[in-house]
Symmetry: C2
Subunit: 507 residues, 2 copies
């Protein structure tokens, strides 16, 4: 009642309260939407897959240009190993500040198979749509709509979410502070990695090499999606990750399935039998010891998990499948366990190119997610031992003809180095301040998640720099990251700018 | 000793015995090698996959041209259904002949995936090599070598063996007779089909529609490979064949394997588990009733099988795998049983395009080979019932969102009509005459095989025309038919011309 009166009084007098920092940042963004979107479209139009080193470098240089336009001093941090995509680093000192926050995002993206994208899309030709294209959205142009753009519109392109949205939100959050003359209270550093989607194989080396320059009190990692409810979230850890690829072998040349079927061994069958041996129908991994070294959740973490809104049923319906894995556990509970996922599987051809052959090989790519207590190398070894227990002779290089002729069950297994999981303590004071800062930008309670299901090389920061990390994502959860038709909801990009600006104003 | 004396006498007198028909045909072919090869290269250069209807028709018209050049009256036999690739038919009447032999080959080829062919090859750009490219052969040109060409050379192209070699051997066999003034003793008809690799879906219709024109005493089917020993063979039957394709379903859109791994069901795992349930590690099919309705081999057929040279160990070594399927049975024994082969399998991507996703679907193509007693539709039903017994709801069309959301295990199963196996009696008199005719062209004993492992729509000839069929293949066994890098050994093409000419001289 008092509030109403006050509002009436303010209206009567024609005086409005001075806008707070969040409002200023929002007004800046609203005024700048066309310019911000145009720059972001340029950023996502540059191919950024690991195999395309030239364009990956162009991406890094474009990010440097973005920093220079914002008055940020920038340089490239190289690994000792030649040819590694550099880290784009930047720094802004704040007079009198005693603490330093370093903002992380990555400018590289997942591999693309353009043939799998919708016909009207191309991974590196960003296009706008009035909503998700698989749920009624239509292609659209910003100029036709005019500002302000509908926040439910999407921009489709590889890395539109993962993780050029992170780069954009951080740099534009800083840009908004400068434009609005809001003074940061901490020293700010920027760290944009170029190998995250490859498993960050040179991150430890770069951190160790540039240790002094990277000194900070907290790393803020801007990657991944916000909560499925649309609520902002702050995440205290991430699963680790390691990829394995398996190839099993049949005859040296493809054989006519009539003239040899029943006699020559079929590698597709062998692979199916091998993969089937790894997991039961509930997704429970049957590799011996797979769950053995998991560190139990702390009471505080269990409490936080219990407070995360449970949208499982809504998400399941949206994703259109009948029954989740697990035995009744929730999504967030299951994300606190290690996983074994089949990313892809292939032997010869299906569809119009299928032929009546016994294939020569069959291959699968596995993705192992790790939780605290797991070790990437140890987890890979458990899977290799399981393969051996199925009767396989395991090699790491392409087998010789002699090996193929000798071993009835022969598997080539390759694994990336991968990295381990990490969790920051829920009661770390500076992390709590970040939660509070993010909370200033929204009315709905910020979701505090002990760990995300996805992976980030957070373990490496702890190991190399004894640094604290906290993850503050910006993307919509239905962004198709890592797959075809990746996109970002514009409203999430805009909200991300406010989030990053608010964290930069941390006391 | 007497023979030696006779030879000496012949040499002394300078007189040589008049060449027999086989020798005349051979001399003709030797003289014509460059012309024959040039024409054959033109034939295989025309794409002939089912999806490319324009080029398939061009292939048919080119075969007609080949027939006209040889003075054979020709016409196209259409199906009642519009758009079906026509049969290229031809006929040569022999004055006074009381019997008619009709020669069958097919001009269509298996689908191609050019990316899977060796870098130096392209499916419809025929090239010569000095031997098998995977065993030391080098690309070569006929003009550089000059005639006669080394019979161990190979010509690489789709359908170089399967089955344009059949078309070429039949038409050039006839051409040789005319050129050598050797009179056929039977009426000769020619029947070149354009849908064999699709499972001959309109063959029955065409046979029924043109029944009178196709009257004959014997069909000679020129398709498939000769024995692995290189010995010529005459085959009294073929396995039937029917293809099935399976698709199983996961989430409606690809999901980040970190954010959803352990919770969203993975269709690649589901498919692996389903395929693994179908066969054990010895290739024994575990689909209930799979072997139930097999007609046992007759004593004569068992005897013939026992006489087939056993090269299993040599072939196994050449194919480079360690252990054949089965429990000690020979290749020819196993080819007298029905089979279930995985032709191809795919879910998302492997290799450089692999991404950390939970795929939306996983698919496999199966090839069921049938033996006498099996029925194609019944065999497919057994597999479908097995899939249902694994807990699947089976649909035949792309499932709706509602179906995907309702059934935890959902499989789309499609099957082609396929066709049944066929076996001609080993004691059929005219068939025995064919064996004798083929034997006139070679010194090594002709292999008599009760059935081949591969499939031909022989069942349809019996059903529609009550016709007898016998199969006389020409291709080398290591021809990569149905796969990438298909090829024919030139010596096999030349020997095939002699084989076909000898059969045309049947009394």
């Amino acid at each position: 009642m008092k509030k109403l009166l006050l509002l009436a009084l303010v209206a009567l007098l024609g005086a409005v309260p001075a806008p707070g920092p969040v409002q200023k940042v929002r007004q800046f963004r609203q005024a700048q939407e066309p310019q911000l979107l145009a720059e972001f479209e340029q950023l996502v139009a540059i191919p950024n897959v690991a195999a395309d080193t030239d364009n990956l470098r162009r991406t890094a240089l474009f990010v440097q240009d973005m920093m220079r336009r914002r008055g940020i001093g920038t340089q490239l941090l190289a690994a000792a190993t030649p040819g590694v995509p550099p880290v784009v680093f930047g720094e802004v000192r704040t007079p009198g500040a005693t603490r330093t926050v370093i903002f992380y995002a990555h400018y590289d993206g997942q591999p693309v198979n353009p043939a799998q994208w919708r016909a009207e899309l191309s991974p590196f030709r960003p296009v706008l749509a009035t909503g998700p294209l698989d749920r009624g959205g239509q292609l659209a142009t910003a100029s036709a709509a005019g500002p302000p753009l509908n926040p439910d519109w999407r921009l489709y392109a590889r890395s539109a979410s993962d993780d050029k949205a992170g780069v954009m939100a951080i740099l534009s959050g800083y840009q908004a502070l400068v434009a609005c003359k809001l003074k940061p209270r901490v020293n700010i550093k920027f760290f944009f990695e170029g190998e995250e989607e490859r498993g960050s194989p040179h991150l430890a080396e770069i951190l160790a090499r540039h240790k002094a320059r990277l000194a900070s009190d907290l790393w803020v990692i801007c990657d991944g999606p916000v909560h499925q409810s649309g609520r902002k979230q702050v995440v205290f850890g991430a699963r680790g990750d390691v990829n394995m690829s398996l190839t099993v072998y049949g005859p040296r040349r493809p054989l006519h399935s009539g003239h040899y079927g029943n006699w020559a061994p079929n590698p597709a069958l062998a692979l199916a039998r091998l993969l089937a041996s790894m997991e039961d129908s509930t997704g429970r991994v049957r590799v011996p010891g797979f769950y053995d070294d998991v560190t139990p959740l702390s009471p505080a973490e269990k409490t936080a998990l219990a407070q995360v809104p449970n949208l499982d049923e809504t998400i399941r319906q949206e994703l259109g499948f009948a029954r989740p894995y697990g035995r009744g556990q929730s999504l967030v509970e299951l994300l606190n366990q290690p996983s074994l996922n089949i990313n892809g599987m292939q032997s010869a051809n299906v569809g119009a190119q299928a032929a009546n052959v016994i294939p020569t090989t069959a291959a699968a790519v596995l993705d192992l997610r790790l939780v605290p207590g797991n070790d990437a190398r140890r987890q890979v070894q458990k899977v290799i031992r399981h393969i051996e227990q199925q009767g396989y002779h395991v090699v790491t290089a392409e087998p010789t003809d002699a090996e193929r002729a000798r071993y009835p069950l022969l598997a080539r297994v390759q694994s990336e180095p991968g990295y381990n999981a990490q969790r920051t303590r829920l009661d770390l004071p500076m992390a709590r301040q970040v939660v509070a800062a993010v909370q200033t930008t929204v009315a709905d309670p910020v979701v505090v998640l002990p760990t995300m299901g996805g992976s980030l090389p957070l373990y490496v920061f702890e190991q190399e720099l004894q640094a604290h990390t906290i993850t503050v994502p910006v993307a919509n959860y239905d962004n198709n990251q890592h797959a075809e038709n990746e996109n970002i909801r514009l409203g999430n990009l805009w909200a991300g700018i406010e989030t990053m600006a608010a964290i930069m104003l941390l006391k």
